[in-house]
Assembly symmetry: C2
Amino acid sequence: MIGLECFSEIKKDLEQVEQELYRFVQVENPVLAESSAHLLRAGGKRLRPAFALLAGKTHFNYNLSSLMPLAVALEMIHMATLVHDDVIDVSTTRRGIPTVRAKWGDRVSLHTGYYLFAKSLILISGYDNRRISEILAEVSVQMCQGEIQQIATAFDVSQNTKDYFYRIRRKTALLIAASCQLGAIVVGAPPAWERALTSYGYNLGMAFQITDDILDLIADAAELGKPIGGDLRQGIITLPIIYAMKNSSRAQELQTMVAMRPKSDADIANAIDIIKESGAIDYAARVAEAYVNKAKKALSGLPANPARHSMQLIAEFIKVRNH
Amino acid sequence: MIGLECFSEIKKDLEQVEQELYRFVQVENPVLAESSAHLLRAGGKRLRPAFALLAGKTHFNYNLSSLMPLAVALEMIHMATLVHDDVIDVSTTRRGIPTVRAKWGDRVSLHTGYYLFAKSLILISGYDNRRISEILAEVSVQMCQGEIQQIATAFDVSQNTKDYFYRIRRKTALLIAASCQLGAIVVGAPPAWERALTSYGYNLGMAFQITDDILDLIADAAELGKPIGGDLRQGIITLPIIYAMKNSSRAQELQTMVAMRPKSDADIANAIDIIKESGAIDYAARVAEAYVNKAKKALSGLPANPARHSMQLIAEFIKVRNH
């Protein structure tokens, strides 16, 4: 979703983070080492470490080695959540009947997730600042609540935009906000600076997730790397879906389809048509844009420097991709 | 396994911990509140909080309110591991094909576990002592490694006692050791005191798990609350099994049975007979007794007070039950 050019400011430092991540998962236990390295190789843009570094780099006190444990811990926590998405995805693709092999994978996944989480806490406890552990623990609790809520509200067509925002805040925005905030804390930025970066991260995270949820409906499957309509299939009711279930002329038909499980490919295609016709995509894109604008505005109080410029570019990039 | 009379010294305080545990899981999210309270109601003797309180009570600085966050956090971390045992048990009892309901439960369980773990970290980050978070994070990492190892070595008849001790140290002993150690840290006990209590907890935890593993083979099913031979069924190869696979005159036959899956009830009964005949139960009981003696010896340097006496009683009790 974000071009790597936005990170040119910290490219070299991110490469060092990458090396450190691989070093970090080289552990005694071969199963854990393998499953963790597999996760790392699966890629990702290391967005959370990138935000922590960029946030730190807005300040003259920037120092990679002091930010390194934070950067590694943030990616590990993110990876831990990915492992659990994997667990859930496996169950979906196998239509509710996991093979023994899939089950073995689930159990190892479960503990790999815990392991990465706990390991990241050890890293973090090395900082002589209680707030850092507190913020990460609090975000982790919120993330769990978001996940639970996503499970509890799956296929529930009665939910509204407030329910949606509750979920994506916890699923995505709070960890990105914490990445920016903690980057600021580690370099010793003053409170107003830290607040500005937290707000940037939060609003950007919200815009991210909304954009992601739009792309799940309108992207090219090849570009997305998976079939579109995945959220509909899993019963995850996103902003465009909520809008269309309320405002489409075929609202009732759409609601019935959204609640239905399992859905055929034709059902998914049909639901997406109704959503597109309703103007839901434009609506959601406007909401994302409003968050992007808030994110950019949050930066305005910070000194104009290359890191701030990169952060603005990142925000711009999300906006461009919405249309 | 332990009589409640051993805890009379801290009975009133444990009742307060119990209330605090219920207050702690009363959260906004109804699914999380329900699943957590269900776990609490399922019971357990709150051994880890009890050890933290007893360890604290060996020192004149004992204060329930300062130990309360630790006591609650320890039980929450233990509960988080129980949730995951549940996940695994569900899959077993349903013969590998979970119903949709069972699967829903698994996903919620997974996040409830994380949630309890993360919540306990928030509690712990309230202490103005970095070592407390560090120790708990380190123990959590070790516990994950133990779980992964248990999965990786299931049904593997080539493992030896060293592999077994590696697992039970991580599965059980380290968290009990940490409970005692952290109780000592919170009350500000001096380093030698802390070391003595850590050693007590560690050795007691090892004795506990070995005794538990013996009982899984020889207990009365009604008393145990589940069919005996559960470890054999799940391929968890415990100390008596390892001993018998090496020393029994029917070692080869036993190895074949242990590696086999699934096993019939007759297979389990047969395997248990071979194990009993081999002298494995006595051997394992002697090993447990050696740990009990080490645990008691660890206490000898502490002042003779009621808390120390209770801790000695607890150790005695394990010993008695072995024979």
